[in-house]
């Protein structure tokens, strides 16, 4: 059963069209990745799911409910969590306070248990719990951003470029954590990535976005094997 389904979604920034009739499906318990070049509309797609910008045409169905016209905060309260591009942690608040902000939506139910889950996934955060968010390293900030998203007990986790600007070793750690989460809790993940190789290896299925439209879709391993994908996104990298 699909947890999230986009059909014919278009989005605009003023007069500029960023998404051209995107169809996409994320099934429960899957890791789905969205790859594409700079400016292809990957982040826009993710933000449109969150209602910012709202889709002009088409429908976004989450768990059988049309969320296309809901305001952002209402969407985010339906157990969808996002780790936005550029991490966007609260730099002057402590790690603990950041995680607390994440749990606010879920009404702080099971706060201690969730905190323990996040700490066991990212032990680094436990060491830094009193530190101010802005003093963390890039990788730690990314962990905090994902941890904060997990504090709201999401069913669907949206990850926008978690590998951005991180060392390969840290990227592997973070992708490992995502896989572990997916396996142990059945968390559904929609992952936007430029790092096509890593993302496709991790994902069950993948979509390729070019100029605001989906051009290819398929199993992660299949996409990885396709020559045109290799040529466009993988050659010369990694």
């Amino acid at each position: 059963m699909s947890l999230l389904r986009l059909s014919g979604v278009t989005a605009f920034y003023g007069a500029i069209q960023a998404l051209r009739g995107v169809d996409l499906e994320v099934n429960e318990g899957e890791i789905v990745t969205l790859i594409g070049a700079n400016g292809a509309g990957k982040s826009t797609l993710m933000m449109t799911v969150c209602g910012q910008p709202q889709a002009r045409d088409g429908a976004i169905i989450y768990d059988g409910e049309d969320i296309t016209r809901l305001p952002t905060h209402a969407i985010m309260r339906k157990r969808i969590a996002q780790s936005p591009e550029g991490r966007r942690i609260f730099p002057r608040m402590t790690v603990y306070e950041n995680l607390q902000m994440g749990a606010e939506v879920a009404g702080n139910v099971d706060f201690a248990a969730l905190l323990e889950q996040v700490f066991s996934l990212f032990p680094r955060l436990k060491e830094r719990v009193h530190q101010r968010g802005g003093t963390l390293s890039g990788g730690e900030q990314q962990m905090l951003s994902i941890g904060r998203a997990l504090m709201s007990r999401p069913r669907l986790l949206l990850l926008d470029e978690p590998s951005l600007g991180l060392a390969p070793l840290v990227v592997r750690q973070i992708f490992g954590a995502i896989r572990e989460l997916n396996r142990s809790t059945g968390l559904t993940v929609l992952l936007v990535e430029q790092n096509a190789f890593q993302a496709l290896r991790l994902a069950d299925r993948g979509y390729v976005l070019v100029n605001g439209g989906i051009t290819m879709a398929g199993k992660g391993a299949e996409l990885l094997a396709r020559p045109e994908i290799r040529a466009a996104y993988l050659e010369g990298a990694h």
Binding site: I89, P91, R92, M93, M101, G102, E104, H130, R132
Partner: protein, 400 residues
């Protein structure tokens, strides 16, 4: 050619205006010297000194707040009405500072029109009490609520604005309120203001300077004196200010207060966490305005007279300076800054015409030495075990 022209102009200047030229030269000389001396201080040493100072201040902070409170409670013991009136003035600004601190310090919404809510509170009390004959304690909540409603009305159009743009609109809002008050003569009596506003009573006991039946001094068999009213007013504003402080401190620990702080940090992240940014901003404006309205009602009852002149932009500017000078988001800092700004202004009275100059220089000096405000650190709202202050070094300039 050019140098010849310059020489000619300079010699003409010296010949025509020797004294101002000499002063200008002296000023540049001394200023340059001071600048060199200032730069001469090693940067690292300066930073180290600053951090040590902050550390000491944090330690002292534990004692400063209770000490200030004790001093504040004891002010009426002096029995000197000059100090009482000064105390009332300072406490009014402490309260305004704490009220604005919610909007600017916690929620990070730069509000240059805070005086509008002060005016709404003052005029609400003035009009309601003179028209319907209601007392201060009945009108106080009404004045606060009316101001809060105006706060929400200001909040709606500026929901999408941030930073400088927000500041301009709030500035205009403050001016609009003042101009409306000046011109709506049938309601506000225009520039002449409203006089004969009732004074506050203590459970129905009046504070008349001459005593007489039904007065405070008569009831308690005390010698009639105008000091009693000053003492009473002082304690009223002290209680109102402490109420503001208490509410703010409680709110900071609640989801709403945390949402304010998160909003100040990153609005987009707030949205992605399911926080209703609209509600969060409007509550910040409303609660900030509520306390501004309370302070306004108090102002009206203290003066027994209100006119538009009391609500000019300079009031907003003073309150905002108190908040910035004290350190955005810091309750103790705001109290200290109000004491320095309002009390300090009185201290410099002996300097007559140079008062503004010295005062301005003092402000500049404080901002140079402590650019993030007097008390710039941020205390986390929650901690496991030991509470650690987030040092001023790590708090962004001009923000909480």
């Amino acid at each position: 050619m050019k140098s010849a022209l310059r020489d000619a102009v300079l010699s003409a200047l010296v010949a025509l205006r020797p004294v101002p030229v000499a002063i200008a030269v002296a000023a540049v000389f001394v200023g340059r010297l001071l600048l060199l001396a200032w730069r001469g201080r090693s940067r690292a040493a300066a930073r180290h000194a600053n951090r040590a100072f902050a550390e000491r201040l944090t330690q002292a902070g534990k004692y400063v707040a209770p000490l200030l409170l004790i001093v504040a409670l004891a002010v009426p013991l002096s029995g000197d009405r000059y100090y009482l009136h000064l105390g009332i003035l300072v406490m009014t600004y402490v309260m305004l500072g704490w009220g604005l601190n919610i909007v600017v310090g916690l929620a990070g919404l730069l509000d240059l029109g805070y005086v509008a809510f002060y005016a709404v509170g003052a005029y609400s009390y003035a009009i309601i009490s003179t028209t319907y004959g209601l007392g201060f304690w009945t009108c106080l909540p009404i004045a606060g609520i009316l101001a809060a409603i105006w706060g929400i009305m200001l909040g709606f159009p500026v929901l999408r604005l941030r930073g400088d743009y927000l500041a301009i609109v709030t500035l205009a809002f403050g001016e609009i309120i003042r101009i409306v008050i000046t011109n709506w003569v049938s309601l506000t009596n225009g520039p002449n203001g409203i006089s004969g506003i009732p004074r506050p009573t203590l459970f129905g006991l009046k504070f008349t300077p001459a005593g007489g039946p039904g007065s405070f001094s008569d009831f308690f068999h005390l010698p009639p004196s105008p000091t009693w009213r000053a003492v009473y007013l002082y304690y009223v504003i002290l209680v109102l200010a402490l109420l503001t402080n208490w509410v703010t401190l409680r709110l900071r620990r609640l989801p709403l207060g945390r949402a304010w702080e998160a909003l100040r940090e990153d609005e987009v992240a707030c949205r992605s966490l399911g926080i209703n940014v609209t509600v969060t901003k409007l509550t910040a404006f409303a609660i900030g305005a509520l306390f501004g309205g309370f302070a306004g009602a108090f102002f009206a009852t203290r003066q027994a007279f209100v006119s538009p002149e009391s609500f000019t932009f300079i009031e907003s500017a003073i309150v905002l300076s108190i908040v910035v000078l004290g350190g955005l988001g810091s309750q103790l800092g705001v109290a200290l800054a109000a004491l320095v700004m309002i009390g300090g202004f009185e201290v410099f009275r002996a300097l007559a015409d140079y008062r503004m100059l010295v005062f301005g220089a003092a402000l500049v000096l404080i901002m140079v030495l402590r650019p993030r405000g007097l008390v710039a650190g941020r205390t986390p709202t929650v901690a496991l075990g030991r509470k650690r202050e987030i040092s001023a070094e790590l708090v962004a300039q001009g923000r909480g």
